[in-house]
Symmetry: C2
Subunit: 276 residues, 2 copies
């Protein structure tokens, strides 16, 4: 891994690394926040997955999470949202191709060659992080919007892999919303049964592990009704008796101003689980 950015931040270091991803077949950038506690040994890791159009930069420049990562002693790893580069298939629209990987393993052309963000986030990246940095295997995962979807899917499909999961404004039912339907059709094909493994609402029905889902949703979020559909998650969790902490926040929108306002509570939630 080659370090391409290095900034002191809250007594630790906000770095950005570049590495050649095997899953994705292209160079990838990834943010790594090293809290001051790494001086004294290995620390747990929160993986943060960003939303449509984002890169590894959005969360590290706008969320203010480092303040709390430093307080608790948690490393934060922020991957990019898709494979990138001239050799990687793309689409001119913002919600497909570069910046829109949707955290799936694509099976359709021209996407299948590179778009394996699920494997990258769940398998390749943690292995790389735990081999390279003073990180141990206490893992948490969180994300925003498309990244909230990615975090929920990763946690629900991998019992025991994460000690906690949370999301801001997640896409919870991609099979029933325009962004998700478009991306899943392109990446996974027309057979909707192949979509279920990447759909929180479907996964909730059969999941064994009762990991509580902490969700913050702004009530003035311009994408809530059409794309995010938090009420479907609420109904699915009730039906499956799956623990859900859904915090609906009056006035808040879909932006990083919302994330920054409540990131302290998410970091505390993850700290409680990681240091249990």
């Amino acid at each position: 891994m080659e370090r391409v950015e290095h900034h002191a931040s809250f007594g630790g270091w906000q770095d950005v690394y570049q590495h050649d991803s095997i899953s994705l077949g292209c160079p990838m950038k990834v943010g790594v926040y090293l809290p001051p506690q790494v001086k004294d040994g290995r620390v747990p890791v929160l993986y943060w997955l960003s939303g449509l159009t984002c890169t590894e930069q959005n969360f590290i420049t706008k969320s203010g999470a480092q303040r709390f990562a430093a307080e608790h002693g948690i490393m934060i790893v922020t991957p990019d949202t898709s494979p990138r580069g001239e050799s990687v298939a793309d689409d001119p629209s913002y919600d497909l191709g570069h910046g829109a990987g949707f955290y799936v393993n694509a099976t359709q052309q021209p996407w299948a060659a590179n778009y394996r963000m699920y494997d990258y986030v769940v398998e390749e990246l943690p292995a790389l992080i735990e081999a390279t940095f003073p990180a141990d295997d206490r893992r948490a995962i969180a994300g925003h919007s498309m990244g909230g979807h990615g975090a929920l899917v990763a946690a629900l499909r991998n019992p025991g892999r994460y000690r906690s999961v949370s999301a801001f404004s997640p896409i919870v039912a991609p099979s029933q919303a325009p962004w998700g339907e478009r991306a899943f059709t392109a990446y996974l094909g027309d057979d909707r049964s192949a979509w279920e493994q990447y759909d929180t609402i479907e996964l909730i029905k059969t999941v064994r592990e009762r990991l509580p889902l902490l969700i913050d949703q702004g009530l003035d979020d311009e994408f809530a009704d059409r794309e995010l559909r938090p009420s479907l998650l609420q109904a699915a969790c009730e039906a499956a008796e799956h623990p859900l902490i859904l915090r609906q926040r009056p006035g808040y929108d879909h932006s990083y101003y919302f994330i920054a306002s409540f990131i302290d509570e998410h970091m505390a939630h993850h700290a409680a689980a990681l240091f249990q």
Copy 2:
């Protein structure tokens, strides 16, 4: 003033307004953070001046200051760093023209028509803010780099106008540093005596008010030795017996990661003065 952005943030609102500036002769954008306390009456205001290449966006998206503004009950006003628009003189380089107003009133062509950032920040903007928002005349001023220079000059030249001043990585001796010399030559002309009114080191020599200067300076700041020259400020304050709190921070660079790491301390400094 027309509101062009509106985001819930820490129980208050991070807004952006656009208005036609009389001083600058062009439309200007300005960030306004309204803390939750405005519900109960007027609040004091911190003016934040940004650095080269910045707009009204940098501080409001990256500093995390709203958390502490909401805690203390302080409005934050973040102007752009220069006049802008097709009719406003510009230069292709990043350190002159758009994004590089240097908080002076230009006297030279082609800049004199629009580049009156000193008047805008010190006179026009506070009058507009105090007439439009639930703000009173308790004022503080702060900034970063070129904006730290602007904040120090505004405070030193206007005794009684600000209750507190602080800066991150300020340009303290523009007359003795390449960015400042280039900009002052363009905006103010070759006669260096006209520069003194915008040079902190010169102003310190004659200032009457003993407003303490709170300065944070990263020791790994890539611009410190050549452009910022904090040791000149230290010497000038010692010679004039002017109160200076200079915090030199090992490892920190010139970025917003530095600002975010210590903005809580600056907000507490301003709160102590504003609510005295």
